[in-house]
């Protein structure tokens, strides 16, 4: 089975072609570039490198978020359109799970992205011989709230994706560059999506909608 994998949810970009779960070709960047301009160039390059045709793929796996709203939308738009155009199945994974899988570590892993003003997009996963499962649900929460939930797992390891902005608030952490090819080892992390119906997982309503809901509830 040939899979095309796409993650543009934060500053790093990762696209890969896997065969039966193993990486044939992968392009990873962490430079500040516009994913909108680069993602299709890299996807096209993957096929050239691996010597495959676009019609050879069996499924597409996309990081559904959380992350930069625009970044997540770019990956999801490309994945939905390609899946529709090529007539292949569409799967999504949490961008946080991609970080955990990319760390190549076992135990309790707690990936997080900056959610501004003391908040983080975060989750925690148990990785080991038996695969991967989510022990703290992916969500948008304060760092304090996350720490409370992580207290149950004293041996946990926090993972950041290279973003330095809020790292001083996290006691100890490792930076992990997302490598989307690694996630296919963990079928339990995949969610099959309806191609038309799939939406990004922002984990947060837009400011305008939040304000509107507050106004209408008064």
């Amino acid at each position: 089975m040939i899979s095309l994998l796409i993650d543009t949810s934060n500053r790093p970009l990762s696209v890969a072609l896997n065969k039966n779960g193993y990486c044939l070709a992968e392009i990873n960047t962490t430079v500040k570039k516009t994913h909108s301009a680069t993602v299709m160039v890299h996807v096209s390059r993957l096929f050239d490198i691996a010597g495959y045709n676009r019609n050879d793929i069996d499924r597409i796996i996309v990081a559904r978020g959380p992350g930069s709203y625009t970044g997540v939308r770019i990956g999801v738009t490309v994945a939905k359109t390609l899946a529709h155009a090529l007539g292949v199945d569409l799967y999504s994974v949490s961008s946080l799970a991609v970080i955990a899988a990319s760390s190549n570590k076992e135990g309790i892993l707690a990936p997080m992205f900056d959610g501004r003003r003391g908040n983080v997009y975060s989750a925690a996963y148990r990785l080991g011989q038996n695969g991967m499962d989510e022990v703290v649900q992916a969500g948008y929460r304060s760092l304090d709230a996350l720490n409370e939930q992580l207290a149950e797992y004293p041996e946990h390891q926090c993972l950041l994706d290279g973003e330095e902005k809020f790292s001083e608030d996290v006691e100890s952490f490792l930076h992990t560059v997302p490598r989307i090819s690694t996630i296919e080892k963990y079928e339990s992390m995949m969610r099959q999506e309806d191609v038309h119906g799939m939406v990004p997982e922002y984990l947060k309503v837009s400011e305008a909608e939040k304000n509107w809901m507050e106004r209408t509830q008064q």
Binding site: S36, A37, V41, T70, V78, K80, T81, L82, W212
Partner: protein
């Protein structure tokens, strides 16, 4: 051999998710528009983040429906076109990335199109454009006068220095207490009122084809506030009529002057505000008097749609003006760059 040029086009620059299939630049095989207006009404205007979220929800659906309605499959297509800008950047990126993915999957040339060129070429869906011409583009985001000596030749001869005319309509509507979008409501209400306020006509310096509606908008708002403070009754219909008369006076006089100065016989009005009945009526009268050939697209092609993008893309296709997979959205693009 099939010599027809069949283009699938995508437009997501603001709050409509649209996809259309056009044969040879003027024959509409399908024209799908999903409007988000009901969602944005609660905010009193288009919220960019919300618009982008809606686009990604519907983008593959509009593509599928455009193909199904046209009864075509991707191998029948010659190219895929998309609005590159100007527009809301986050909104544009959804259409652009979908177009690039579609172009890659089906090995089709990609054609980036300027949104305003699309508005002008909406007229081609009804009859061929005749050159040279002057075009007035009026919408929620644009107020421009453009001179064209031939296909895909654009010279901007006037533009707004502040608010777009549609923006001024929305703001005035809000002050009168009319719902968003304000244009159609003011247009309707103005028919019941008199031009009793005689608001200023912002012509700017002599000889200028530029526009400015910010001062007029402020004048309307200040007048309303003054009346309300003094407890005077204000007839909303009169405010609507007075505002609209000022806008129409300025738009028509400058446009007709440009037509005379550039010695053209053809005038095109385009963009969402071209749907305004007062503006259409006044242009019809003036053009008849002065023997100018006036073209205004049907109402559904005035507002944002993808058919107009496909109409413009036809000429870009013939000139092989193709884009690459590194195409990015741009919130502002000088239309003169698009001249070929």
């Amino acid at each position: 051999m099939n010599e027809d040029v069949i283009i699938l086009s995508i437009e997501t620059s603001c709050d409509e998710t649209a996809c259309s299939i056009i044969r040879n630049g003027n024959e509409i095989l399908s024209n799908v528009v999903v409007s988000q207006i009901e969602s944005h009404k609660r905010f009193g205007g288009v919220v960019p983040e919300v618009a982008s979220r809606h686009h990604v929800e519907t983008i593959t659906l509009v593509i599928e429906e455009a193909l199904q309605t046209a009864g075509l499959s991707p191998p029948d297509l010659s190219a895929v076109a998309v609005t590159e800008g100007p527009g809301l950047i986050g909104a544009l990126l959804v259409g652009i990335n979908a177009a690039k993915a579609f172009s890659f999957a089906h090995e089709l040339p990609l054609i980036p199109v300027h949104h305003i060129a699309g508005h002008i070429y909406a007229n081609q869906l009804e009859e061929d454009l005749q050159f040279p011409l002057v075009s007035l583009i009026v919408s929620g985001g644009h107020t421009e006068l453009i001179y064209m000596k031939d296909h895909m030749s654009f010279e901007v001869i006037g533009e707004t220095r502040d608010d777009a005319v549609g923006e001024a309509y929305d703001k005035v509507a809000r002050v009168i207490g009319l719902p968003y979008p304000g244009g159609p409501h003011i247009d309707r209400l103005s028919k019941e009122g008199e031009d009793s306020f005689n608001f200023p006509r912002p012509y700017l310096e002599p000889g200028s084809y530029d526009f400015s509606f910010s001062g007029l908008k402020s004048s309307v708002i200040n007048t309303l506030h003054n009346h309300r403070q003094k407890g005077l009754e204000v007839k909303s219909a009169d405010v609507a009529r007075s505002f609209q008369e000022s806008v129409i006076d300025v738009l028509t006089k400058k446009t007709i002057q440009a037509v005379a100065d550039y010695e053209v016989e053809n005038l095109i009005i385009a963009g969402g505000v071209a749907a305004n009945s007062g503006l259409r009526a006044q242009f019809e009268i003036l053009c008849q008097e002065q023997d100018i050939k006036l073209s205004i697209p049907a109402l559904k092609y005035c507002t944002d749609n993808a058919a107009m993008i496909g109409a413009a893309a036809y000429h870009l296709y013939n000139n092989k003006a193709f884009g690459d997979l590194d195409l990015n959205g741009r919130n502002y693009i000088d239309i003169e760059e698009y001249s070929i």
